[in-house]
Amino acid sequence: MKKAILVLSDGLFFEGQSFGAEGETFGEVVFNTAMSGYQEILSDPSYRGQIVTLTYTQIGNYGINAIDVESSDGPKVNGFVVKESFTDRSNWRASKSLGQYLKEYGIVAIQGIDTRALTAHLRDFGSKMGIISTESADPVKLYLRLKESPGIEGVDLVKEVTTRKPYEWTEMVWGHDKNVVRPSPALKVVVYDFGVKYNILRHLYTEGFDVTVVPATTPAGAVIEMAPHGVLLSNGPGDPEAVTYAIENTKKLLGKLPIFGICLGHQILGLALGGNTFKLKFGHHGANHPVKDLQTGRIGITSQNHNYCVDVNGLRGQVGLTHVNLYDGTAEGMRHVELPAFSVQYHPEASPGPNDSTYLFGRFRDMISGSAISESAVSESKI
């Protein structure tokens, strides 16, 4: 098997075998603790700019299928790191193996290393830039190259993953009950694509929304002209402060249309409200974090994928804290005290991860139905 090497910006390096495409790749190395869902993780545009290591050790077991994708055109990660990948596949829906998929889309991947040691290192010393190479075996050379490469802080990665053209979405969530009909009346939602995961769209559609996805740079005015009932600010990769146009557009939409922000969308909402974001030491990436909904007292197990956080305290008076992470006490959700706008830092659309928080899409619907701004829109659409 061809050799591969992973070098971190602080000089730690791991020698293993290549199981994806040949070549070299840079990225911020992060770990994800979800035990299933590698296909969703690979195709999640939020991972743009990052090299993902999975803490679970047996990856590729059920292959790759055509359905469980979070974006089109293959993986979005910059690189992939696992303990052991499976060369075959074993699942009724699988159409190819993991290795095939990675090679097909040119994703460099390394296996056969102590991923737990790597994880513990990232935990103790924070996320690091890294390089995976199947071309050079000299760690020092790669290390020096890495030192010269820029980080991803302050870089607008959204531009790389957002859609070029608007499109409509009409697919339900996987495995939905065929007998259940979508709630009516259908409400129109515009989704700002900062790197949106398809499962957000699937949930919106299943929840009775007519979904239009627009490019990240679409001006607020254009969105208002589309006369939707609500706007969803999607998830996406990288540093929220770099996405200045989105922050500006959101400021203009606030108070005009009900807003629901997810992940990067949450951070952008926070910045649009005049708040601050800060970077976590190694982020939250996984499918087992408990989050408490302060409105209901219920705890949901959530899907998490973020390195940045909104300083919700700094927005006191403007927004109320709605969700809290029970692991580290960080803010996971907020709601504007007057305007119809709320957001969560984690992923109610799951995929991968538990479906405990899909109720938030219903809450979005309820907010629209109950809000004064949207009432006119709703009645308009009835006419």
Partner: protein, 1129 residues
């Protein structure tokens, strides 16, 4: 929500004796529950009839009742103790069933005792097939489709809906007999007609077959705020059709996509809500069709289970402990995660390793039993192993089993492959060796697809096995080289390893170790390489395991709890800029064991439960750990049994969940003896363990005593040499001779010829067995030369390296067991137990009484005296068990075991003397004086131990007891006199003593005269007696009124008819010789099937009479162990 203040006292019901399907996992859960509730300030009342448990240790609960688990006794306890609440979910099905009875009879309401954890309605919803079905339909989940039919016409309609293949289940047949699977219409109609005939009500349930589907389990927890979390997903290696307890299982689920897994998770949450389990854990089983992903709910257990014990060990999330806390009102987010310390219990564990569980079977004990694995559980224990990959985890689990397998050895020996027909058969038919058949089939060239078609085992698992076998091939192709570039060589004879090994060899060996290969298996693949040579080679090339922590969070948080497993991981590097432009590279490995500098002692556990070595030994190990902690030592536990308390992460200071082989144990001791500081070479002594305790875990650690000693490890307590002296026949003979003690005549034979010769010299009957065994495996009483020759043919297979031992069999002798403790200076007798069944019945299967109930004081004194002299002579430091046979005035020494015995927990519970704890302290250097132990303890009450046998699980197997141990568990009856204590022990062991009715008696000729007195007393007690012609004639001629009935061979109506018609309430049946055994076998097997208590010895019958006499003269009463022990507190 804070914990409840309205309840103060909580009753916990244990699960009773260890039986197949309900084993020590419930000791684990019960013990956790007791500890958790007391930690929260509640008073705990516990009932369990099983004295071998840690939960019945008087320190575990506030009041401990070792009493029969029946509604009557529970009512007595509830009325006496007045608990505010009953937690029914910790004691398996036994506790759940009792709870339902207590609730329905109104006892709970009468005494204001409320159910916590699970309510009556939810228990019934989960347990009742119809209620469960409608519940699942309500929440839109599928269960196997089924329809009840009573004609072929109806059946043909039904199959349109159910679809082939279908299972036919005739209604109301005993034990589900007559069930069949039909794959097509022709088969269906034919089997259906048969099934309709079999059913007394002419009804058959036609059910969709899910045999061969993938099987999964989820462990679910819910708190009273309706927060639900999944603790663990488990995927079965063996598909549907094999009981989960008999399946190899793996955690987490491996072959489900996230979408499929979340669908299952959502279903599990919906189920626990619909069934309405208020708080605590549940276990839900699913089947998934591998072809289209269709998911079906199989069943739900609204309580902790065997799987939740496994899940707790697999994830580090203590399900029973948390469930107990949830039951008193705490919420998941109010309970801390003990392992990370910084996060709450309201989360789902993330694991970064693979856990494999393999069941342990004991078919060799029941050669007549059907070895096919079915939906009825047959295994008696299990092992669990942790590795970073499935391959490593699987191979570690295989060598943990202690069945002399260290990997995928070919079943028929090296180079031998079973023929295709055999392979087909044993791949298709689930059996205990299927894992090895898979490997053999691959060696025979079967493709993964073909094996999948035959077994239904997911190709992911099969491909992993294939990779292991490919590695074997690579290893065989490339034996280590003598010289670089030289021809293939061998390891030099007499140890050591070839020098000049290439980097390639080192890399290959490293890869093999990463695949989980044991040194032993490598030594088989590299002929000429001794296991030890491979070890030395590895050590010299730093191919050593690292240890990783089970931390519930996949390293996301740093965990402080040292719950460790070994794995072979790759090293990695670090670049440092030593001077501008100059870079140096360090090589690092990440090992999380981080040994401390404390004084430490290693305790070796007892491995998988099996017949002959069960929970008793875990009890001893756990007690040792507690005791040594009290002395300030750091305790280090090594064990691989997930069902036990010893593998709980908070029992010892450090836990290594590892196989108990010399390789794995030496690596741990090596690691614990060194600490790697940055910049120092590995291997600097640091806090070297004081020593290792091998006395408490039964045969498992004992086998390791000598190899460990040879490797320079200090064995604490009695020296391995003294252990050998007691085990080695000729040394032991000399030893007894020196002390002037008697032993039954004995000889050691190495050939059939010799054996037959010796036997006639000694005189039949003789007892024969292979040397070095525990649990009396392959031990038999032989009455004549023909049987002797037959035995020799079979016994050689049992233990090929050791000769056969022949002893004079002392007929009608009374067997006595003694447990003693010594500090090397003084000896204290812990207890003298008189067996109820005569010598020749394995002591593990025999009931016994403490104190003795027929022996004279002089005899008991003499026995104690002999015990002391042997302990002195062996220089025992720790525990010693001696078995004596008393025949008239003669006392014979049968066996001496200078180690913890099976009876230690029983004696400790009966006398209040914590023998295992005291022994551990003695082994650590304390004297008996220092421990305040000055004299033998005599008790005024009586405790009777009775064994519990697994015959129910092996239909058709003869229930006659013999020198081969067959019981899985034990119970204790304790009261002020023998009769009552015996009666309680019988009730607890499912042989409730009838107070009136008809007793059948059939005895061998030599028992006839003694039977007279027994029958006379029985008649006086009001029983009617019925006997076979011979016995009846004898009794009638002596003036007793006895009815006569045909033997089976004499034609209908015979005794078996009468048992079947429920006309018999108790059976006394003694037999002599093989022929008589065969003739009377149907009596015993029918008695078993119809649950008629049966005594196969006259001494048992006499004890029965004593019990009836006492039961007629006074009322049953109860007392807690704490009350019995009060006088010494």
């Amino acid at each position: 929500m804070p914990k409840r203040k309205d309840i103060k006292k909580i009753l916990i019901i244990g699960s009773g004796p260890i039986v197949i399907g309900q084993a020590c996992e419930f000791d684990y859960s019960g013990t956790q529950a007791c500890k958790a509730l007391r930690e929260e300030g509640y008073e705990v009342v516990l009932i369990n009839s099983n004295p071998a448990t840690i939960m019945t240790d008087p320190d575990t609960a506030n009041a401990t009742y070792v009493e029969p688990l029946t509604p009557e006794f529970l009512s007595m306890i509830i009325s006496r103790e007045r608990p505010d609440a009953l937690l029914p979910t910790m004691g398996g099905q036994t506790a759940l069933n009792l709870t339902v009875e207590l609730a329905e009879s109104g006892v709970l309401d009468e005494f204001g005792c409320q159910l916590i954890g699970a309510n009556l309605a939810s228990i019934k919803k989960a347990e009742d097939r119809d209620l469960f079905k409608s519940s699942m339909q309500r929440i839109g989940l599928e269960i196997p489709k089924s329809k009840a039919v009573s004609s072929v016409g109806e059946a043909l309609d039904a199959v349109e809906y159910v679809l082939y293949p279908v299972i036919l289940r005739p209604a109301f047949t005993l034990g589900g007999t007559g069930g069949a699977v039909a794959y097509n219409e022709e088969e269906y109609v034919r089997l259906l007609k048969k099934a309709l005939d079999l059913s007394p009500v002419h009804k058959v349930l036609v059910e969709e077959s899910v045999i061969g589907w993938k099987e999964y389990e989820l462990e679910v927890m819910r708190d009273n705020a309706d927060n639900v979390v999944i603790i663990c997903s488990i995927e079965n290696f063996d598909p549907m059709g094999v009981h989960t307890g008999d399946s190899i299982t793996v955690a987490p689920a491996q072959t489900l996509t996230d979408k499929e897994y979340q669908k299952m998770r959502d279903a599990a949450i919906a189920i626990i809500r619909e069934i309405g389990v208020d708080t605590g854990g549940s276990n839900i089983q699913f089947a998934v069709n591998p072809v289209d992903g269709r998911m079906i709910v199989i069943e739900m257990n609204p309580r902790v289970s065997r799987s939740s014990a496994l899940a707790s060990k697999a994830t580090g999330f203590p399900i029973a402990r948390i469930a107990a806390k949830l039951a008193v009102g705490l919420r998941l987010d109010e309970i801390p995660n003990d392992i990370t310390k910084e996060t709450p219990a309201s989360f789902e564990p993330a694991i970064d390793y693979v856990v494999t569980k393999i069941p342990r079977f004991t078919f060799e004990k029941f050669p007549e039993a059907d070895p096919e694995l079915t939906v009825q559980m047959k295994s008696v224990g299990e092992v669990m192993a942790i590795g970073r990959t499935f391959k490593e985890s699987l191979q570690k689990a295989m060598r943990s089993l202690e069945i002399d397998s260290y990997g995928f050895e070919p079943l028929n020996g090296p180079g031998e492959i079973p023929n295709a027909e055999t392979l087909h058969k044993f791949l298709k038919l689930p059996n205990a060796e299927r894992l090895w058949y898979i490997a053999d089939a691959m060696r025979a060239g079967f493709s993964v697809e073909k094996i999948y078609d035959l077994t239904g085992i997911d190709t992911w698992f099969l491909n992993n096995i294939k990779e292991i076998l490919q590695m074997e091939e690579e290893l065989k192709r490339t034996p280590p080289l003598m010289e670089p570039g030289g021809g293939p060589g061998v390891f030099p004879p007499g140890g050591g390893y070839p020098r000049g090994i290439s980097d390639c060899d080192i890399d290959l060996l490293r890869r093999a170790k990463e695949f989980g290969f044991s040194d032993k298996r490598l030594s088989q693949l590299w002929p000429g390489a001794a296991e030890q040579a491979i070890r030395e080679f590895r050590w010299d090339h730093s191919i050593r395991p690292v240890y990783k922590v089970v931390d519930t969070c996949a390293a996301e948080f740093s965990a402080g709890t040292p719950y460790l497993y070994s794995t072979y991981e790759r090293s990695f590097g670090r670049i440092t800029e030593s001077s501008p432009g100059q870079y140096s590279i360090d090589t690092l490995t990440e090992c999380e064991a981080r040994p401390t500098g404390r004084n430490k002692i290693v305790i070796l556990g007892s491995g998988p439960n099996r017949i002959g070595q069960g929970i008793e030994f875990d009890y001893c190990c756990v007690q040792a750990s507690y005791a040594l902690k009290e002395l300030g030592y750091e305790t280090i536990m090594i064990n691989c049994n997930p069902e036990t308390v010893s593998t709980d992460y908070d029992t010892s200071d450090r836990l290594y969940f590892e196989p108990l082989t010399i390789e794995d144990v030496l690596e741990i001791i090596g690691k614990e003896s060194s600490r790697v500081e940055p910049g120092t070479p590995e291997g600097i002594p640091y806090g070297v363990p004081e020593g290792v305790i091998v006395q408490f875990g039964g045969q498992t650690p004992l086998k390791l005593a000598l190899p460990l000693k040879r490797a320079g490890v200090r064995i604490l307590g009695t020296s391995p040499d003294a252990i050998d002296m007691a085990e080695d026949r000729s040394r032991f003979k000399t030893f007894l001779h020196k002390l002037g003690l008697m032993q039954p005549m004995s000889e050691t034979a190495v050939s059939v010829h010799e054996a037959v010769g010796y036997a006639s010299q000694i005189g039949y009957p003789v007892m024969v067995r292979p040397s070095y065994v525990l649990g009396g495996r392959a031990m038999e009483v032989v009455y004549d030369e023909l049987s002797m020759m037959d035995y020799m043919k079979r016994a050689v297979k049992a233990s090929p390296e050791h000769p056969v031992l022949i002893d004079k069999y002392l007929e009608d002798a009374i067997e006595v067991d003694v447990d003693a403790i010594s500090d090397g200076r003084r000896v204290i007798i812990g207890g003298v137990m008189e067996h109820i069944e005569e010598a020749g019945i394995h002591s593990g299967d025999s009931a016994c009484s403490l104190p003795p109930y027929t022996l004279s004081d002089e005899t008991v004194e003499e026995i104690k005296c002999q015990t002391r002299s042997m302990a002195h002579e062996l220089n025992v430091v720790g525990l010693m068990n001696v078995q004596f046979a008393v025949k008239g005035k003669e006392i014979y020494v049968l066996e001496v075991n200078p180690r913890g015995s099976r009876t230690i927990p029983f004696v400790s519970k009966a006398t209040g003397l914590p023998l295992a704890k005291l022994a551990a302290k003695v082994m650590a250097g304390k004297t008996l004086d220092e421990l305040g132990l000055y004299e033998d303890r005599s008790i005024t009450h009586v405790a009777v131990k009775e064994s519990v046998l697994p015959f129910e699980r092996f239909p058709g197997v003869d229930t006659l007891l013999g020198p081969e141990m067959k019981s899985t568990g034990e119970v204790m009856g304790i009261d002020d006199d023998f009769g009552m204590a015996y009666a309680k022990s019988q009730t607890s062991s499912f042989n409730k003593i009838p107070m009136s009715g008809k007793i059948f008696i059939s005895v061998r000729d030599k028992d006839k005269s003694s039977s007279y007195e027994i029958v006379r007393k029985l008649i006086a007690l009001g029983f009617e007696i019925i006997a076979t012609s011979g016995t009846a004639a004898f009794l009638c001629s002596n003036g007793l009124e006895v009815e006569s009935i045909n033997k089976v061979a004499e034609g209908h109506p015979h005794i078996v008819d009468l048992i079947t018609n429920k006309g018999i309430d108790f059976i006394i049946n003694t037999v002599f010789g093989e022929l008589a055994k065969k003739d009377s076998r149907s009596i015993r097997t029918t008695a078993l099937a119809y649950k008629v208590p049966c005594s196969t010895t006259l001494s048992g019958a006499r004890a029965f009479i004593k019990a009836v006499e006492m039961l007629k003269s006074k009322k049953m009463s109860i007392k807690s162990l704490q009350e019995y022990h009060r006088q010494w507190r």
